[in-house]
Symmetry: C2
Subunit: 138 residues, 2 copies
């Protein structure tokens, strides 16, 4: 039924001091260090309107996650009951897509310095979107 699937291709990569999962905070606003989003040159035209100070939603491919897990203890806290992964933000899930809200601190060509990103160094970036504001402002 699911057929062969679809192929996602990285548009860039994360550069971060976070190298190991156990070093990373559970979410970006829980103490993540500043990181860089480093984009492929082919994406320049799509990124030209991003500004310092804006908020972005970054979608990543959590390449160190497990895809065969359907239930986890939330936040790796074994005192919490096993919970279906679709009710958690666990990186382990059938399609390990990461969703991160970050703030842009600096732009240097195709390198964007951001705050509040808990993704590990080398994580592939798949997409960037603006958060949705009020309907009248879209």
């Amino acid at each position: 039924m699911s057929g062969s699937g679809y192929t996602v291709r990285p548009i860039g990569w994360v550069e971060s001091p976070l190298a190991l999962p156990e070093e990373a905070p559970k979410q970006g606003d829980e103490g993540a260090p500043d990181a860089w989003l480093v984009f492929d040159e082919a994406m320049a035209d799509g990124l030209r309107d991003v500004e310092v100070g804006s908020e972005l939603l970054v979608l990543t491919w959590l390449d160190r996650a497990r895809r065969d897990v359907l239930a986890v203890h939330p936040r790796d806290d074994r005192s919490r009951p096993l919970t279906g992964v679709f009710s958690t933000r666990s990186p382990d899930r059938p399609n390990p897509l990461g969703l991160h809200r970050v703030g842009v601190l600096e732009i240097d060509g195709l390198r964007f310095r951001v705050q509040d990103l808990e993704a590990l160094d080398g994580t592939p970036i798949l997409d960037v979107k603006p958060p949705l504001g009020r309907v009248e402002e879209r």
Copy 2:
């Protein structure tokens, strides 16, 4: 540099009265009809904790989008200047991942009726996540 990419596999599909792009509102909270998320049986264990009344983030594969577009007129309004796709919510983008915030109205086994989903009928679902609440409540 981007290599061969990664394969995403649908975990379910959207059933919606919206069949054509021109029928769909630009965003789900701009008049989308109720729709159903219909999940693959293999995903049941991952979905067991979703409840009626909850809000979900749904990630989809916008299978009718163009992947070779890097700049668009926002909201198809040609009076607005061409804008890099990563500063818009255009479905046309290198990896056409849709991000939708919906409310769960009804659960019938692996069929979830939701409000505020603008995705077209037949759109593959890739992931479901809870929105992030306050840090203390995670």
